[in-house]
Symmetry: C2
Subunit: 204 residues, 2 copies
């Protein structure tokens, strides 16, 4: 529809996830009126990501260096590993400030439909990290869906004989949510996982 | 939250219109797993737009050359000019295939609130294009809102004494819309602009 460069940019932007034809056009026209230096920064950032980002040699989180920021941090608790599916999940857990241990990024979840088996995930690498006995707890923080549950079950069976504590994130009602709108599986899990209120927890 | 390059990219993407923090993260992780050549094409397209796109010397539509594709096209009707606010509007009118004349892009609409007066738009340039008498009809296709109407009124007052036919796009119910959900102004305009059905139009 447009001439040359602007249509090329609209086409390229339209290939990105979550950007439709209208959004691509809007961004392209925004770029047209943006400072050259700002556009240059964006183009540079795109290239940098493909060139500089790699995966941590220990936990497979995305990293700018050989090992990631979490693994390098001497203040992190090295006896505990939180197992997640993707690097995005590391960021999500970090935002909670609830966990001070290390991570292990599997690179996905077991999903026969997508042809992803245990061998396609970094499960062997996780077992190797437990070999020296430093790690005493593994928290399985895979997604609370079919694939995530299957992956958690598979890994827990492998790890339990190794004598580490294995736990799974609690399922239940989302905070700020509405009981009325909770699906029955989530509500059922919330019942199963109900916690007794004692003097101790009430004052906590 | 993330390390170095990936966070830089998320920040840069988040500055684009219509992309929120979640969307920026999603795109950044997509880029991470995208072919280097594809990313290079996107970065190149971004630079090309800032470097190569300019405005047509005649109609001020965006163009890759001195004059735009429409102005260069010898098959276009040179007696008719469609006046629009932005280059995006040229693309919208082109998609209808209803208009075979030339365009004139004002670069906005009169809006005292945004400090945009007639002198900030390419109205003088439009008058100059009418000087040699080739153009006999001007269609004012500014947006059907307060600013667009004000701009159309202003321009029509300038052009009518020059002896050209000046028209405004019809207002009315959008095709495929629902009468029930039409706002009262639109419905009122649809009444004002009602067209008598004759044998002629019925067979058209």
């Amino acid at each position: 529809m447009y001439e040359g460069p602007i249509q090329d940019l609209i086409d390229e932007l339209g290939r990105l996830p979550g950007i439709g034809p209208k959004g691509a056009q809007r961004i392209a026209f925004h770029i047209l009126t943006t400072d050259k230096a700002d556009v240059e920064r964006l183009a540079h950032a795109l290239r940098e990501v493909t060139e500089k980002v790699r995966f941590c040699a220990t936990c497979f989180n995305i990293s700018a260096e050989e090992t990631c920021r979490v693994c390098r941090d001497p203040r992190r608790d090295r006896t505990s590993i939180c197992v997640v599916e993707e690097s995005k999940d590391v960021a999500a857990v970090e935002r909670t400030h609830e966990f001070r241990g290390l991570y292990h990024v599997l690179g996905g979840a077991i999903s026969p439909i997508d042809n992803v088996g245990p061998a396609d995930l970094r499960i062997r690498e996780l077992c190797l990290r437990l070999a020296d006995g430093t790690v005493t707890e593994v928290i399985l923080a895979t997604d609370p869906n079919l694939e995530g549950e299957a992956t958690a079950t598979y890994i827990s069976r492998l790890l339990l004989p190794m004598g580490v504590t294995v736990s799974r994130l609690a399922s239940g009602l989302p905070v700020g949510g509405d009981l009325e709108y909770a699906d029955e599986v989530t509500l059922g899990r919330a019942f199963q996982g109900r916690r007794r209120i004692s003097e101790e927890t009430r004052t906590a």
